[in-house]
């Protein structure tokens, strides 16, 4: 086999990043303008709801889709972000943006800690630990009067925001930017050597370790990123509604959707979680007006089970992507 017979090398060494970012901001701008034209406050709230899930699903996918480690505690990490935002507001008077950064740091630490304690064992132990973490965090919050305990906490939000026609529009825009960032992070990871390493770990951790991939370190990076992004998804929540209680923050809806959306959209690529979030999120938003929220969630549970059994690669998998 001579050198001249080599097939064309794939462009994997030189991924094009610029077209993605331009495209992503373009789509975001289009969405923003469309909602502004519609001018209905409800549009911003529905949009916020869906974008929140884009962030959550993208975060989950970094650990679940790329590395193959399942995080069951999305509700816990989200709530950790939400309550961090509340705490820094009450204690230091810091507003939304600093709150988001603090939430990312704290939730990231939680992810790192959980990973550090469990990732040297089989993957299922990490998953079980994330489930328990959510319950424990909820217990802590319920017992902590500073954040209102089970009664909940209030955040006084300004009526207007300079540069925006309403506070709702402002918070929607913040979440829009966060969504673009989250998807971008996912895509950057996917095309980086971190992503390749995580895929190798998912495919065959022992072989990856044997060929020089620092498996523990990569897994810890992934759990930290995943935790941080999930915390970021939760940070604006108290500002969104002005009030937050543990039941809402730790809602089962987050736990199940964080898993269902990437798996249904197609885990393992950055686009899958977006598709899953937009699709399932819209369906659930539309359904809340007609059916009870419990039934709504119940259906999501069934969809998850059925999809995972019949179409394990999700929607994107049907279209032939690996």
């Amino acid at each position: 086999m001579s050198a001249s017979a080599l097939p064309a090398l794939p462009a994997s060494d030189a991924t094009r990043h610029l077209p993605f970012w331009l495209g992503a901001f373009g789509v975001a701008a289009a969405v923003f303008l469309a909602l502004k034209l519609i001018g209905n406050e409800y549009g911003y709230y529905a949009g916020y709801f869906i974008l929140q899930y884009v962030v959550l699903a993208s975060a989950w996918n970094i650990l679940g889709g790329y590395a193959g480690y399942v995080n069951f505690g999305a509700a816990g990490f989200m709530a950790a972000g939400a309550y961090t935002a509340i705490v820094v507001r009450k204690a230091f008077g810091l507003d939304l943006i600093p709150g988001i950064l603090c939430a990312a740091a704290f939730a990231g630490l939680l992810g790192l800690g959980t990973g550090y304690l469990t990732l040297r064992l089989k993957g299922v132990y990490f998953s079980i630990a994330t489930l328990c973490l959510a319950v424990v965090l909820q217990t802590l919050v319920v017992n902590w009067d500073y954040v209102g305990g089970s009664r909940g906490a209030y955040i006084i939000r300004p009526m207007t925001m300079p540069g925006f026609s309403s506070y709702g529009e402002y918070i929607f825009t913040v979440m829009l930017v966060l969504a673009v960032i989250a998807v971008g992070v996912g895509r950057t990871v996917e095309h980086s050597r971190l992503g390749r390493g995580l895929q190798a770990i998912r495919d065959n951790e022992r072989a990856a370790e044997a060929v020089g991939v620092p498996t523990l370190r990569l897994k810890l990076i992934a759990t930290t990123l995943c935790g941080a992004l999930m915390g970021v998804a939760g940070a604006p929540l108290p500002y969104y509604s002005g009030y937050l209680n543990p039941e809402a923050a730790f809602s089962l809806s987050y736990a199940v959707n964080a898993i269902a959306m990437p798996l249904i959209g197609g885990a393992g690529t950055w686009l899958g979680p977006v598709i899953g979030a937009v699709l399932l999120g819209s369906l659930q938003q539309a359904a809340t007006v007609t059916i009870s929220s419990a039934l709504n969630l119940w259906i999501v549970g069934w969809i998850l089970v059925i999809f995972v059994a019949i179409a394990p690669r999700g929607i994107l998998g049907w279209f032939g992507k690996r």
């Binding site: 086999m1 050198a3 097939p7 060494d13 050597r193 390493g197 190798a200 990856a208 370790e209 060929v211």
Partner: protein, 237 residues
Amino acid sequence: MSVLLKAEQVGKRFGGFVALQEVDLELRAGERLGLIGPNGSGKSTFVNCISGDFAQHDGKVTLAGQPIDGLKPHMRARRGLARTFQLPQPFNSLSVLENVRVPLLFAGAAGESTRRAMECLEQVELAGKSQKLPRELTQVEQRRLELARAISLRPQLLIADEAMAGLSNAEVDQIIALLLRLNEAGTAVIMIEHIMRAVTAFAERLIVFVAGRKIADGLPREVLALQEVEDAYLGKQ
């Protein structure tokens, strides 16, 4: 030639079961070593102690003069140790080329990873299938892929753990030729095999394990003529 690998009194037990006991072994740079023994004699256990898959064991292992005990497998890979597995362990969702690129990405050679990976694939004659998925390869091709991945970091020592199991005669010859070529380029090889003609064709030195102990160490012709070795295989113990 300098000593590349030194195992001193290496032992391993699982609960009450002693899989390996007091094994002393020296391997020189560029040497071709054959390791044989009945099933369950501790060959794979020994290999796993060297590779770091078993983190804890008795005794001491040194690679190129540096102790490697307690180091994780990926650190040992960076120090020049490579291994293949009894059953091929490819990265199934990555292409053949990507499989070989992964180790290079983490060895600080990301920029030239594609070029070097293709070179390795050429050495094992898989360059034409670089875009295929591992499951599209035949068994012998999968083993060649495994070897390509193992040599991508230009290891000083390659442990080939039953790399020829389940292959036809022609395929066995293929792999032997490949391993000889790799050895000519400077890589020491420990070949663990049950296929006797492969071992005799390849090894300059032969070591025999029985029931967790090393019972013979010398020229293949002489070792195979020993009564204890014959007894071990014919079960007269």
